[in-house]
Symmetry: C2
Subunit: 437 residues, 2 copies
């Protein structure tokens, strides 16, 4: 006799029957199936007489030009080494809490929600985000103005779909966030660069009327400037007079190290002209792919339909776990904790750059965010500087790569937040050695 229980054997037989390997014949016994289930999974390749000549028209397809936007190939080189900008520290994220919330969600979510969900998002998550955005960002909204999206990049796609037509003019920060610029540009929009001055985006000298202005008021990407209250009011006035929308990308407002943050632009707009966008990539982790739009009431249905037509709804497990992560307080705790860690790293980064690279770099002063800009003292081309660093294995993107006009002062964008004191120190020393090769 085998030393296993009768129940185990019966369960094994039941499974074999369920999977189609064996069949029970009443009053007779159990037999191996004549047709094994693998056969049903396998297909035969059918031979044909077709000419195998390649199709000719394909490269002329409309979207074939998209591949020029394929930036990941250049990013693959050392893609998470210091000082890549735009990254939070993934080693500090409480993945154990996150995966536990995912697991418990499986039992707590209604089975209905594992089906095709509400395109605008899982209601408890929309509620949690609305509460957060009202309290933390002064956003004025009802809960159903929140549309859950797969990160900011989907926000650009939906905004283009719902609000824009090809050849529409888009006012764009110069320099600015390339992810947004590429998205609008690939969708056929006409990018109008608007320079950044010390108060933020400056739309005053631009004669072409934009249909939408894209801006990052809390912490301009990549220059790090916070838009002044005065400029905010001027911008809202301009949008009201010119009937133009404003897309407010509030991508890392959680990380302000000194003073009170200013309320969002959306919160001081009385004309329903602002689409507010937030992301969880900087607080949680980019691979999560969740963010949100807060849209004026009259656009809720159009954005919901656009999201439905684009990919129906965002994944339910992520949405449910994130709702609990926020309402259980993990989100606020993680922000407070990381804010102190990042602030300390910022100080370390600034101190070491000053100590070792003072001859080459003047850092822009900033009190917020995960990155900063260093102005080059001895290089007229930031691309040359980047190449020099890359030869030493360090990825420091040139400011000009964020520029549409390529006319900006030579500078480097440094992401300092995702790296430990040791990494910051050793990378800066490595940078120093690049100069002496």
């Amino acid at each position: 006799f085998l030393n296993i229980s009768r129940t185990t054997v019966l369960l094994a037989f039941e499974n074999l029957i369920a999977e189609g390997y064996i069949k029970g014949k009443p009053g007779s016994g159990t037999y191996i199936s004549e047709e094994l289930p693998e056969n049903l999974l396998l297909t035969k390749n059918i031979k044909t007489n077709f000419d195998s000549a390649k199709r000719k028209n394909s490269p002329e397809a409309k979207g074939y030009h998209f591949k020029k936007y394929l930036i990941q190939e250049r990013l693959d080189y050392n893609r998470f080494a210091p000082f890549r900008p735009g990254m939070p520290d993934l080693n500090e994220f409480p993945f154990h809490i996150w995966t536990k919330l995912i697991s418990t969600s499986a039992n707590e979510i209604s089975k209905n929600d594992f089906g095709y969900g509400d395109a605008a998002g899982y209601q408890p998550l929309r509620d949690a985000i609305a509460n957060y955005a009202r309290a933390a960002r002064g956003v004025k909204c009802e809960n159903d103005q929140v549309i859950i999206i797969n990160g900011s990049q989907q926000g650009f796609d939906l905004v283009a779909k719902v609000l824009l037509s090809p050849k529409d003019n888009i006012g764009f920060e110069e320099p600015g966030y390339t992810g947004a610029r590429d998205s609008f540009s690939a969708a056929g929009m006409n990018i109008i660069p608007m320079p950044i001055d010390e108060e933020g985006i400056n739309f005053k000298k631009t004669k072409l009327k934009p249909v939408l202005i894209y801006t990052t008021p809390s912490h301009q990407y990549p220059l790090g400037i916070t838009m002044s209250l005065n400029r905010r009011l001027e911008l809202l006035d301009y949008s009201s007079l010119n009937n133009c929308w404003i897309l407010e990308d509030d991508y890392d407002s959680e990380y302000r190290y000194k003073g009170q943050p200013l309320s969002s632009l959306q919160g001081i707009d009385n004309n329903d002209s602002v689409i507010y966008m937030g992301t969880f990539s900087k607080v949680m982790f980019p691979g999560l792919r969740l963010g949100y739009l807060i849209v004026p009431e009259y656009l809720i249905k159009s954005f919901t339909a656009a999201k439905m037509l684009t990919d129906r709804n965002s994944p339910i497990f992520e949405q449910a776990a994130l709702a609990k992560f926020i309402t259980d307080g993990h989100y606020g705790r993680h922000i407070r904790r990381m804010r102190l860690i990042y602030e300390k790293r910022k100080e370390i980064f600034y101190n070491f750059i000053e100590q070792y690279l003072d001859n080459h770099i003047t850092l822009h002063q900033t009190d917020a965010g995960l990155h900063t800009v260093g102005w080059l003292k001895n290089f007229s081309s930031d691309v040359d500087f980047s190449k020099l660093m890359l030869s030493g294995g360090i990825y420091t993107p040139p400011l000009s790569s964020y520029s549409f006009t390529k006319k900006c002062k030579p500078g480097i964008v440094f992401g300092y937040a995702a790296y430990t004191e040791h990494q910051i120190k050793s990378t800066i020393k490595k940078m120093l050695r690049c100069f002496s090769v």
Copy 2:
């Protein structure tokens, strides 16, 4: 003394410091912070003098018309009650295995992969899908031809972006899958209905040249017809002669109850004209939001870039867990198990309809899939029949709702697979009672 260990107390203090509630002053002690961290999260609403008159131009926005595609409102009614089509049985899915794979993924995935990932998808998942599609569907491809997407709906969006321009002619199954039709239609394409005959989509009488033909050869949605080998070869010939793409939507090919499945169209195409699309919504669960395209080699970069511009990449946890779910054999086991369950339910459904509703409905014979069509005997309008059923609380969508021309025979689309024997029986009895009210 409190009965807790010194370590616990120290950890609590460290946390309070980390989150900004208290500050340690060297040589002095620990103090409550002057500025509590909540203040940094809060903003003040700023008063302005703006006119609060509503913007006037907004409803004229390009995508405002999207809201007419917002079908979820009509689906909200009893949305998972029998016999809603397109649903797998969520109660049978092994969520315990799935959440365990998600949890273990957190430790096994490289930290890099929690950042911004490859837009084409997580490589182990692409490999697993390529292996599966080659073996189970006769697809001819290299692993890097697989592009991971957020379900079929995103596939339509990407295909439109990369291959089509507004006003392009799309050959479309009539009746056909509304999710695809709405997506192409909202993107401005010109839908050309092509009737379904007993061999599948019939393109022969259509004079307008399509740029792309959308088709579901394995199991036509919603009629359930499997495209004959002869028609497949004719269609590939037509596409070769007319330089038109074919989008092959293989949405539920896993569920074939009798005989060998035919290979995919893609597998017998020698002209690189077929875009093959698969989804995990029918085998796993729709809320997962994962699917894939298998594209010709010369289109890989364009589709990768389109995906990157649309929402960067699909969520990493889902992708990693799904890769393991497939390679560990859970995927194949689940399919084999569910195939037997669904086949049994199909028999039950057919038997009960015959027993109770033979006067009203003739079921279309089918050997595959999760749904079937019932032809109405005494109703000239399937919409009227649906309304009658809805009055009894039963959701049975009319075939005409899948039709572009509204000229099809009156029929009802029944999803039988997601419901237990008891649910099937009681719903059919409930339907019967509708007739006598």
